[in-house]
């Protein structure tokens, strides 16, 4: 093991790091600047449409963790009435199999990724909490129609490192805290 090549390799490496000193940083200042996530993002929540759901429990059967709890009773028109639709997102691994398997598109992955809570119990989402709302928007995962309406994802590959600047499409800090997009 000789100390070969007289330190030329070290000098080359030093030159490269020096060159990087003049490249713009690629990091994003997170809470102020947010990148646009993928249209198919499997955010950490689910969106449930009560009007479309027939209570067939296909989602519950396809869930590898057995997280989805559905209780139904037979209604007046010989249909299922959903009494309870509860998802424990604390145990959910957001694989999306339930969304893919739903035959009536009554379930969708959420768009938000900021769903941290202080208590595990708060992660169990009930029927009301799972509904579509201002802060709970569906993503286009396995839902091509929704996918087409969402903005284009920001990609680091398309970011021009020679020109620098913010070529990444960023979403400025929204006024409403907790709004994920």
């Amino acid at each position: 093991m000789k100390f070969e090549r007289y330190g030329i390799g070290i000098a080359k490496g030093m030159a490269l790091t020096f060159k990087h000193l003049f490249r713009p940083p690629i990091t994003v200042q997170y809470p102020e600047e947010k990148l646009v996530v993928s249209r198919r993002i499997r955010g950490n929540e689910l969106v449930w449409y009560p009007d479309r759901c027939t209570g067939c429990a296909t989602c519950a059967k396809s869930c590898p963790q057995g997280n989805i709890e559905i209780v139904t009773h037979v209604g007046d028109e010989n249909n299922y009435v959903v009494d309870k639709f509860e998802v424990d997102t604390g145990r959910c691994m957001f694989c999306g199999l339930c969304v893919e398997s739903c035959p009536y598109e009554a379930l969708a992955m959420g768009l938000s990724y900021e769903r941290a809570q202080y208590r595990r119990g708060q992660l169990v989402l009930s029927k009301e909490e799972l509904r579509l709302s201002d802060v709970r928007q569906p993503s286009g995962y396995a839902r091509p129609k929704i996918e087409a309406t969402l903005p284009e994802q920001s990609l680091l590959v398309n970011w021009d490192r020679e020109k620098g600047g913010q070529k990444l499409s960023l979403v400025p800090l929204s006024k409403k805290r907790g709004r994920g997009v």
């Binding site: 330190g7 490496g13 940083p25």
Partner: protein
């Protein structure tokens, strides 16, 4: 005569002798320590931002404009942390070690000339004092490693002792080259003698001193005692709160002190055209520190036996040869022709580095167990 001594003489005309002696000394101590600590805080911020930029990220930028208050926030955070002493550790040594590391490093600044005459005390053995006092902190680190009752800390402490002992020799020998040319050990004399910065007159001496200094202040690629991928945090694994802050400050103080010494010995100290001398020193110190951070951002670290053999097989013989060459040149070359010496020494340094790269291997291989 230094500014401090002038101040003392002036005070002595009004005050009793002891007060005239003590008061300026205290003022001087406060000024020097304030300078050192302020610069350390600046350095911490500078290093973190600079490393960030080397690694194409931003570095701390949250607190204050461009994050300039980040070191203060870090300091407050560290100071508020719980002080933990290992249950079976040596309590007294554990408490004493940070002081033993930190105080000697601060004492180095006593002999750093900031300006013509602006030196705390112009010892006639200034450079010897620097070498002597800077190795005391190794004792502190060994104390920390021993007192922690932690195997990682102990390994780190042992590495530290071996490293400091090995690198002290080439460092001293390369300083001797400078001393031979100046003919004095005093720091202010060394600065005064540098009409041409000694980096040009003694390139090899500079390289050896620089590498030795980097090793002595335990920074990459010689940061074996804090090799976080091997021995976690090394000797300060078991330290927290205020005591850890002392080590942290001590480390950066060490870096600052050695940057000052390198600037003084080889880069002409406060000498420079146009700008005020103090600013020149600062520029040089920051430049040296920039190179240290740059190296840290680029290079992997050496292994412990390679580190040792690098000191004993490469740096030490080269330093000895360098010393002989400088002695010969001082003896026989006419003093009026320094530029010949520049050319000769550069050629010589290049030849020696090539030769050593060809001849010597670094470190041992597998050990039979």
């Amino acid at each position: 005569m230094t500014l401090l001594e002038q101040f003392q003489l002036w005070l002595a005309t009004m005050w009793p002798e002891w007060a005239a002696y003590v008061t300026p000394a205290i003022v001087g101590v406060v000024i020097v320590i304030a300078f050192a600590l302020c610069m350390v805080i600046v350095f911490i911020y500078f290093e973190r931002r600079l490393l960030g930029r080397f690694q194409i990220r931003l570095g701390p930028n949250r607190l204050g404009p461009e994050g300039i208050f980040q070191p203060i926030a870090t300091a407050v955070k560290v100071l508020l942390k719980e002080d933990i002493v290992p249950a079976k550790g040596d309590k007294w040594l554990h408490w004493l070690a940070p002081l033993v590391v930190f105080v000697p490093v601060l004492m180095i600044f006593a002999v750093v000339p900031f300006w013509e005459g602006a030196i705390f005390i112009d010892l006639n053995v200034g450079i010897v004092y620097v070498v002597a006092i800077s190795s005391v902190s190794a004792v502190g680190i060994y104390m920390a490693g021993w007192a922690s009752n932690n195997k990682y800390a102990l390994i780190s402490a042992l590495r530290m002792v071996a490293q400091v002992v090995s690198y002290e020799l080439p460092v001293i020998l390369s300083i001797l080259g400078v001393v031979l040319m100046v003919g004095s050990l005093s720091m202010s004399q060394i600065v005064a003698a540098q009409t041409i910065p000694f980096i040009l007159l003694q390139p090899l001496g500079f390289i050896i001193f620089f590498l030795g200094a980097v090793a002595e202040m335990n920074r990459s690629p010689f940061d074996l005692l804090e090799a976080d991928s091997e021995i976690v945090a090394g000797f300060h694994t078991e330290y927290s709160g205020m005591k850890f802050a002392m080590f942290y400050l001590g480390e950066y103080c060490h870096a600052l002190a050695y940057s000052c010494i390198i600037a003084t010995l080889f880069l002409g100290g406060w000498r420079g055209p146009l700008l005020p001398p103090f600013l020149w020193l600062l520029i040089k110190v920051v430049a040296v520190f920039f190179v240290i951070v740059w190296i840290r951002a680029t290079l992997p670290r050496l292994r412990v036996d390679q580190l040792m053999s690098f000191a004993w097989k490469c740096l030490l013989p080269m330093a000895v040869i360098n010393l002989f060459v400088v002695a010969a040149e001082v003896l026989w070359l006419p003093e009026s022709l320094p530029w010949i010496m520049v050319v000769v020494n550069f050629a010589f340094a290049g030849a020696l580095i090539l030769l050593w790269s060809k001849l010597f291997t670094l470190g041992g291989g597998r050990v039979e167990v």
